[in-house]
C-alpha cells in the first residue's frame, strides 16, 4: 500500500504542486484502497469513473494556484451532488439523484477538488454512532467492534483509514467533533452561518453547520478556507470577506487566555478524560497561555434543550419526504393519507421516527410554551454564558466527548445514553459558536480521545492557531493496523 495516501492533505497538495504525483495517480491510489476497504462500510456511493475522468482533465491543464489542486475528496452523503446519488443515509432517498450541487461542495470543486464518493452517515444525520444509517453501520478503523461516532461516521472512518485525504461533515450537535474524537482526527464546526447550508439535506436548520474533517489542523484550515463563504441563497449566511486561514496559521499563543469551564467535569466521567483535559491544560500553559477557571452555569440544560430544539425543527424539515414529489413512495395505501403513512413508516428508520415524534410533540399546541418556547429561552441563556466569558477568555478548552469510541450495538437500545455522548458538543451548536476537536491522546485500550477548543463567533483563526500549537506539542499518533485489508 502506498505511503502517499497516509500523508496529510497539505503534504499531498505539495506533491501535486511539485508535480511529484499526478491527480490521476493519486485518485487511483485512493480508489484502490476504497475498493479493498468495503468492510468499513464508510462509502455509500462511489463515482470512480467521474473521479478518473476529472483527474485526467486536471492533469491535462493543472491549475496549481487553487487550494485543492486535483485532490480527490469524498464527502458526507448529506451534501447534494449534481448527478450523483444523495441518500442522507435513508431509504427515503435511496435513489435520489439531485440535479443541483450544494454550495459547499461547489466551493470545493471550484478550488480544484474532485469527487471520489459519498460517505455513510446516520440517517438524516440523526445519531452519534453511525448505526442509524439505512445502508448499515460504519466501522471505526481503530478496532473492528467499535463505532466511528456519528453522525459523520463514514467521513471520520474513511478519513482515518486513508480512504480520502480529507473530508467534510455536518455538525448539528457534535456530528463532526465527536467522530473526529473517536477516530483520532481533526474536526471543526464553524460559526453558524460561515458555511452555506444551501444544498445540504436539512436536519435542524438553526443548528446545522458544515465543516472540515482532516488529519491535521493545517489541513483543517485549508479545507475551511475552501468551503466557507457568503451565499445569498442561504438567508442565515454571514456576509463577510473570505479569510486565509492556512496562510495565517501560527503557533505563537503566548498570553492567550484559555477558559476551563467547571461544568464540563461531569459525573461518572472516566478518569482518563480528566487526565487528558489536564494534559491539554499543561501543554497550553507551557506554550505561554493563561489558564483561567470559568463557569458556564447553564451547561447542564444544554442537552435537554438541544433534544427539544433539534427534533422540533427536524419534524418540520422532514415533512417534505412524503412520497409525492421524489424519493421513496410506498406502493400500499388507498388514499393520500394512507400513502403518507405507509411511505413515512417504511421510508424512515426508528431514530428518525423517534425524533419526528418528539419534535411534533414539543411543537403541539398546549406543549409549545412548556417545551419549545422554554427551550429557546434556555438557549439564549446558554449563549449568554459564553458571551459573558468571552470577555474574559479567548478560547475555551473542554474534552470533546465523555468517552472514547464505544462498541457497536452497545447503546443502540438506550437512546438516552446515546444522546449523552453529545454532552460537551451541543452547547456550542446552541450558541452558534465555532469549535474544533483535536486528537490529544489514547485511552487504556489505545483508542483516541480528543479535546475541544471553543472560540468566539467568527474567531475560527484563533482556535485553529491554538489547536495548531497544541498539535505540534502533543505528539499524538493514531496507531492504525489496517486490520480490515
Amino acid at each position: 500500500m502506498s505511503e502517499i495516501i497516509k500523508k496529510n492533505l497539505s503534504e499531498i497538495i505539495d506533491l501535486i504542486k511539485k508535480k511529484e504525483i499526478k491527480s490521476e495517480e493519486l485518485a487511483n491510489l485512493y480508489i484502490d484502497k476504497v475498493n479493498k476497504s468495503k468492510k468499513l462500510n464508510s462509502y455509500i456511493t462511489t463515482c470512480f469513473e467521474h473521479t478518473i475522468q476529472q483527474s485526467k482533465e486536471f492533469d491535462k491543464k493543472p491549475n496549481l494556484n487553487s487550494l485543492l489542486p486535483g485532490v480527490p475528496l469524498a464527502v458526507k452523503d448529506l451534501f447534494c451532488t449534481n448527478g450523483f446519488k444523495t441518500t442522507a443515509g435513508s431509504k427515503m432517498l435511496e435513489n435520489f439523484i439531485p440535479q443541483y450541487e450544494s454550495t459547499v461542495t461547489e466551493n470545493l470543486w471550484k478550488e480544484g477538488a474532485i469527487l471520489l464518493g459519498k460517505l455513510n452517515c446516520d440517517e438524516y444525520a440523526m445519531g452519534s454512532s453511525n448505526e442509524t444509517s439505512y445502508f448499515g453501520n460504519v466501522i471505526n478503523p481503530i478496532a473492528k467492534d467499535t463505532v466511528p461516532g456519528g453522525s459523520s461516521g463514514g467521513s471520520a472512518s474513511a478519513l482515518a483509514a486513508d480512504l480520502t485525504p480529507a473530508t467534510i461533515g455536518t455538525d448539528t450537535g457534535g456530528s463532526i467533533r465527536q467522530p473526529a474524537s473517536f477516530t483520532g482526527t481533526v474536526g471543526l464546526k464553524p460559526t453558524y452561518g460561515l458555511c452555506s447550508r444551501w444544498g445540504i439535506v436539512a436536519f435542524a436548520s438553526s443548528l446545522d453547520q458544515a465543516g472540515p474533517m482532516t488529519k491535521s489542523v493545517k489541513d483543517c484550515s485549508i479545507m475551511l478556507e475552501a468551503m466557507a463563504g457568503f451565499d445569498n441563497k442561504d438567508s442565515t449566511s454571514i456576509e463577510k470577506k473570505k479569510e486565509n486561514y492556512s496562510k495565517n496559521l501560527k503557533t505563537n499563543i503566548k498570553g492567550l487566555k484559555i477558559g476551563i469551564p467547571k461544568e464540563y467535569r461531569v459525573e461518572n466521567m472516566p478518569k482518563e478524560i480528566d487526565e487528558l483535559w489536564n494534559k491539554g491544560k499543561s501543554i497550553l500553559k507551557d506554550l505561554g497561555a493563561d489558564i483561567i477557571d470559568i463557569s458556564l452555569p447553564h451547561t447542564k440544560y444544554a442537552l435537554p434543550t438541544y433534544y427539544i430544539v433539534a427534533p422540533a425543527e427536524a419534524s418540520s424539515n422532514l415533512a417534505r419526504y412524503d412520497g409525492v414529489k421524489y424519493g421513496y413512495r410506498s406502493s400500499k395505501g388507498n388514499d393520500l393519507i394512507e400513502m403518507y403513512e405507509n411511505t413515512r413508516s417504511e421510508g424512515f428508520g426508528d431514530e428518525v421516527k423517534r425524533r419526528i415524534l418528539i419534535g411534533t410533540y414539543v411543537l403541539s399546541s398546549g406543549y409549545y410554551d412548556a417545551y419549545y418556547l422554554k427551550a429557546q429561552k434556555v438557549r439564549q441563556l446558554i449563549k449568554k454564558d459564553f458571551d459573558e466569558n468571552f470577555g474574559k477568555v479567548d478560547a475555551i478548552l473542554t474534552p470533546s466527548t465523555p468517552s472514547s469510541a464505544f462498541k457497536i450495538g452497545e447503546k443502540t437500545n438506550d437512546p438516552i445514553s446515546m444522546y449523552l455522548n453529545d454532552i460537551f458538543t451541543v452547547p456550542v451548536n446552541l450558541a452558534g459558536l465555532p469549535a474544533i476537536s483535536v486528537p490529544a491522546g489514547l485511552d487504556k485500550k489505545g483508542y483516541p480521545l480528543g479535546l475541544q477548543l471553543i472560540g468566539k463567533t467568527l474567531d475560527e483563526q484563533n482556535i485553529l492557531n491554538v489547536a495548531y500549537a497544541f498539535e505540534k506539542n502533543c505528539n499524538f499518533k493514531n496507531e492504525l493496523k489496517n486490520w480490515w485489508l
Partner: protein, 489 residues
Amino acid sequence: MSKDKFDYFIKGEKNKYEVIIGLEVHAQVSSNSKLFSGSATKFGAEPNSQVSLIDSAFPGMLPVINKECINQAIRTGLGLNAKINNNSVFDRKNYFYADLPQGYQISQYKNPIVGEGKVLLDMPYGSKEIGIERLHLEQDAGKSIHDMDPSSTYVDLNRSGIALMEIVSKPDLRSPEEVNAYIKKLRTIMRYLGTCDGNMQEGSLRADVNVSVRQVGDKNFGTRCEIKNVNSIKFMQLAIEYEANRQVELLDEGKKIEQETRLFDTKKNETRSMRSKEDAHDYRYFPDPDLLPLKIEQKLIDDLKKTLPELPDNKKERFMNDYGLNSYEANVLVSEKEISNYYEEVAKLSDKKLAATWMMGDLFAMLNDKGLNISKSPISAKNFAELIQSIKSGEISGRIAKEVFELMVESGDNPKKIIESKGMKQQSDPKELEKIINEILTKNKDKVDQYKSGKEKLFGFFVGQVMKQSSGKANPQLTNEILKKLLKG
C-alpha cells in the same frame, strides 16, 4: 334595504338578530417572482412550468425573501392606514397536503409585518369605518386537480410559493352589502397601489368569511363559523345570508352553534360543515429557522410613503372640492384608478359636471355592454372631452350628441370630424330658423288657426315639423322661442 338607514337584521321565530362578519382576505401580491424563490408568477401558464427547486421543496433548498414582496406589503399597509412593524417574523405552519411540497406553509403568525389599520366605506346610510386587525405575508399552496383522472390526483405547483397578503378585518362588518363595499374598497386601494390586481376570476383575491349572529342589543359576540376560501363577492354574500339564517334558526330552536369550519357549495348555495373545532388542525407554528426575523428600517417605510400614489379617499375629496361633484359621483369616478384618470383628463378639457354625467351614463353603459375596461374604451378621453364641449357650447344638441357618441364608438373618430362630415351641427341661426318656421306655418295654415283658437297641444306638432325639416339639427330652445313668437303674431 332602505337607503338612508342600516336595517340588515334577521328575524327569527322569536328574536331579531344582528349579523357579525369578519373577513380574512387573501390577496395575491403583484410581483414578478414568488415570495421566496425566483420563479415567475404569471397566471395561466402551462402546469408546473413556473416551479423552482425551492417551490417543489427539494432536499437542502432554502427560502430567500423577495424584497419586492416586502415593499408591496408595506405599501398596502400604508394604504390601509396601518402600523408597519419594524420587526416581524416568518413562521412555519405545518400540515400535510399533496399540493404543499414543504409540508409547511411559510406564514406570519405572532408577529405580522403590518398591524392595525382601517378602511372607510361609503354606505348609503353614511360612512363606516372597518378596522383592520393585521396584514401578514404568506406563501400560496399549489393546486390539486381531482377531475382529470378517475383514480389519480394531479398537482400543479405554479401557484406554490406565490406571495399572498392575508388581510384580517376586525368583526366590524354587519351585512352582505357592507362586505361587498369592503371587498371593493380593499380592491380599489390595492389596485391604486399596484400591490394586487384584485382579479377574483384568477384567484388573486379570495376570502375566508367568519360569521356569527347575536340578538340585537347583545354586547357579546356569538359563536362563529368560518366559511373557507370563497372566491367571489356574490358567493360571499350568498354564503353569509345562508349561514346567518342557519345560525338564527338553530338559536331560535334553543340549540347551540358549534364553532367549525364550513364550505360554501356554489351549486346549492348553502354552507356545510368541513371540520369541527375538535378536528381542527394543530399547525404547530414556530419561527422558520431558515429565515432571520424581518427587520424593516423606518427609512424604507418613509421612502415608500413618499412614493405612494393619491389614494381613493383623498382623490374623492379632491374631486368633490375641485370638480364640484357630489359624494356619489366622486365615489363612482374614483372607484378605479383608470376611471379617475380618464375623468380627470376629460374634466380638464371640458365641463366637469357634464363630463361626470355623461361618463357615468352613456360611456359606462357602452363599456358595460361591450364588456370593456375603460383603458380599452373606443373613445379616447380627448375625443370624449370634445364631445362634452360640443354639447356645452350648444354646437350640438343632447339628442344629436347621442348619435355622435354612437358614431364615435363605431369609428373611434374625433367628434368634430363626425359633426362636420355628417352635417350634424345644430341650427342656431335665428334668421335661418325663422325662415324654416315661416315656411311650415304657411304650409299648415289650418293647424295654425286651430292652435290660435285654443288647441295648444299642436305646439308639439310644429316643433316636430321643424325638427323634421332641419333633420333634427334645429336648436330646440331657439325653435321654441321663435315658434311662440310667430304663433302669437
